[in-house]
């Protein structure tokens, strides 16, 4: 074949290929257009009819349900807030009350501390005074003793008619003075022990009184008596009701106070310890400590 035939055949090929392609294209496009314009339209119109009717009704329902839930939520939230506020207020009130009480208790404690200090200072002063007196008396006695010994050591004079009488009188005088001094010294010691005793009695009454919660509206004219037995460290071994006040609540309040105050403050010196083994406590609800009636 020659070139002209080849060229002719190629162009015919192209032409036929193009024609086939365009026919195919036209067919597919028209097919698409056909479907796009008819089928989807049919489905949308069907679906949309149903969708509109169903959605509107259930949407309304949904809306009112959601509204209601929100309302309920809001209400519970408000109630919750209210309750919180209430308990916060309550807590605040209680706290303020507690603070007040604490302040009062602190004042009370300070008062009691001051009282205790005063009792101790007084006792110390008295003890110092008594010790001074005792020392003085000791000195005097010592000097009398020396005088007496000096007298005894003097060489005996030959008895003259009047001398013996004079000596005898002086001796009698001296003996009397010694006797007096001894008694004076003894009473000073008695005083010393007595003041120690009183000091511890007040300490014990203070300790029990601080724990004694007096019943409200108690009859102030009643009185009860208890026997309390202590060990060597002040621990309460037993409490016995000797005479009831006729008010069981009052009796019980005192027993409780004694138990709470144990161990009671007692002296350690052996001379006094024995006195504190057994106490007889008479109780009369006259008023409150610190002067308030």
């Amino acid at each position: 074949m020659n070139e002209r035939t080849l060229r002719y055949r190629r162009s015919a090929l192209y032409f036929s290929g193009g024609l086939h392609l365009s026919i195919i294209l036209m067919l597919t496009l028209s097919f698409n257009i056909k479907t796009a314009s008819t089928l989807p339209a049919a489905t949308t119109s069907l679906v949309s009819i149903q969708a509109v009717s169903v959605n509107q009704h259930s949407v309304q329902q949904e809306i009112s349900k959601i509204k209601h839930e929100q309302e309920v939520k809001k209400q519970t939230e408000m109630n919750h807030q209210k309750a919180l506020k209430r308990s916060a207020d309550q807590a605040k009130q209680e706290r303020a009350q507690e603070q007040k009480q604490l302040a009062l208790l602190k004042v009370e404690a300070a008062k009691l501390q001051a009282q205790k200090k005063q009792i101790e200072v007084d006792a110390k002063n008295r003890l110092a005074d008594i010790k001074k007196q005792q020392a003085l008396a000791q000195n005097q006695l010592a000097s009398f003793k020396r005088q007496q010994e000096a007298l005894a050591a003097k060489p005996k004079m030959p008895p003259t008619p009047n001398a013996p009488t004079i000596n005898h009188d002086a001796e009698k005088d001296l003996l009397q003075k010694i006797n007096d001094e001894q008694q004076h010294l003894a009473s000073i010691n008695q005083q010393m022990l007595q003041s120690e005793l009183e000091k511890y009695k007040s300490l014990i009454l203070n300790a029990i009184g601080r724990q004694w919660n007096m019943p409200a509206n108690v009859n102030k004219n009643l009185s009860a008596q208890f026997q309390i037995n202590l060990d060597a460290n002040g621990n309460v071994l037993s409490i016995q009701l000797l005479k009831s006040s006729s008010d069981a609540v009052l009796d019980r309040s005192v027993q409780l106070a004694i138990q709470k105050a144990s161990p009671l403050p007692i002296p350690s010196s052996p001379d006094l310890l024995s006195s504190f083994k057994e106490l007889r406590l008479t109780v009369r609800p006259e008023g409150l400590m610190g002067g308030a009636a």
Binding site: R86, Q194, K201, R210, W212, A216, D247, T282, V283, G287
Partner: protein, 428 residues
């Protein structure tokens, strides 16, 4: 001779104090709240059981007589005295514990014990141990009864927890007429019930001594009238509707007569109405405003408020001798006087510098203490055992009820209702 002298110089510390019992006299103590703990009742997963122990705990605390251990500080849970280990409970006088067991469909058994922690474990230390049977709706009442028993045992004074209060509830709505309700509730404010509802005001409820009737003032006929309502049946009858004021009713202690306030010209006077015959006897006279009668527990004295000395003060009226005596003298205004059960204290409304507060006057030594301090208090009413006072106050323009113990230690505002509350009256 020397021997004799030397013999005389004896050891000087010969004096021993002979040990008989040492005598001590105790006359002064302290006035503090009794420390106590209420263990949550078994079984703790049952909300009814914890409700019962919570009610007992709150009652004891609100009385002001007890210092109740907060429940978050409790970490062991005995339910009977045998389970109690004393080392777990320090600085407490007593312990309350118990359990709530369902018996049948609607019935429960509440068991409780009160133990003295300062006595050694054993029968002597158990102060109370009892069971009570209740229905579900009367569980709260059962708890209040138990609180009363504990209160009585530890203080010697009858409790006031299982009682009722009456009050007036006002519901105000914008653009609508107000409505008034005569209410009855438990003393702690729970379980309120409407007795009477009205579109016209009601005031001054007053309980009869047997707790079956309430006298009150109603304006339903466009004028004041006093009715007596039967609390259980709801029926009521009119007892006074004179021209002018009919107010402040108060039953006598035998329940047979009613003191009330009637107008006389420009003044008001107190009269006694016999409930059987409806015959009236005047009690006070003179040119003064006399009002707010109240009777003492022994029925021999009537207190009333009068301005006969120039400003309102509290007076006592001896019902047999007719003698009148002025009782109050503080502040510039005293009203609503009531005597406590032991007749030793006067509870009243006191105004000083424009502030209205509840005051308590000791009738033996004249001391006056204020129980409230918000300056807004009105209409106090004393509990039947004289240990607590209910009153009305205002917060945020709303009327509320307040509770305070007679020693001022415990204060509580009752939960608010759906309106404004006023005129509380504590039932017997």
């Amino acid at each position: 001779m020397r021997k004799r002298i030397l013999f005389l110089i004896l050891p000087l510390f010969l004096f021993q104090l002979t040990s008989a019992a040492l005598d001590l006299e105790l006359t002064h103590g302290v006035d503090s709240a009794i420390p106590i703990a209420v263990v949550p009742f078994a079984d703790r997963t049952n909300p009814l059981a914890t409700m019962v122990s919570n009610i007992i705990s709150a009652d004891l605390k609100n009385s002001g007589q007890f210092n109740v251990l907060p429940s978050y500080q409790i970490n062991t849970y005995p339910s009977t005295p045998a389970d109690v280990h004393r080392e777990d409970w320090n600085n407490l006088n007593s312990l309350v514990m118990g359990s709530v067991k369902p018996i049948s469909n609607d019935r429960y058994q509440i068991n409780f014990s009160l133990v003295d922690l300062y006595k050694k474990a054993g029968p002597d230390s158990v102060l109370l141990s009892q069971s009570i049977e209740v229905t579900q709706s009367s569980l709260r009442r059962g708890a209040h009864q138990i609180a009363d028993m504990i209160f009585k045992k530890l203080t010697g004074i009858p409790g006031c927890f299982n009682t009722k209060i009456a009050y007036v509830l006002v519901k105000r709505r914008p653009m609508q007429p107000s409505r008034y309700f005569l209410m009855v509730a438990d003393a702690d404010g729970y379980r309120p019930q409407v007795l009477v509802s009205s579109s016209d005001p009601m005031m001054s409820p007053a309980w009869s001594p047997d707790g079956r009737h309430i006298a009150y003032v109603s304006f339903e006929n466009r004028r004041a009238a006093i009715y007596i309502l039967d609390v259980f049946s709801g029926s009521r009858h009119l007892v006074s509707q004179q021209t002018g004021i009919n107010g402040a009713p108060a039953f006598t202690k035998d329940g047979k007569q009613l003191a009330l306030v009637l107008s006389q010209g420009d003044n008001t006077k107190i009269a006694l109405l016999d409930l059987a015959s409806l015959q009236q006897t005047p009690l006070t006279d003179g040119r003064s405003i006399d009002t707010e009668p109240s009777f003492s527990l022994d029925g021999k004295t009537m207190l009333f408020t009068s301005d006969r000395s120039g400003t309102p003060e509290i007076y006592s009226f001896d019902l047999s001798t007719k003698a009148i005596q002025k009782l109050s003298n503080t502040g510039d205004y005293n009203a609503r006087g009531q005597l406590t059960a032991d007749m030793n204290h006067l509870v009243m409304l006191d105004r000083s510098h424009g502030q209205f507060n509840i005051a308590v006057q000791d009738l033996q030594n004249g001391d006056v203490d204020l129980l409230t301090d918000d300056g807004n208090a009105q209409s106090p009413s004393v509990s039947p055992n004289g240990m607590m006072v209910i009153y009305s106050t205002r917060q945020n323009k709303q009327g509320l009820l307040g509770l305070v113990s007679i020693d001022g230690r415990a204060k509580l505002i009752l939960p608010d209702n759906e309106g404004s509350v006023q005129d509380p009256a504590w039932g017997p």
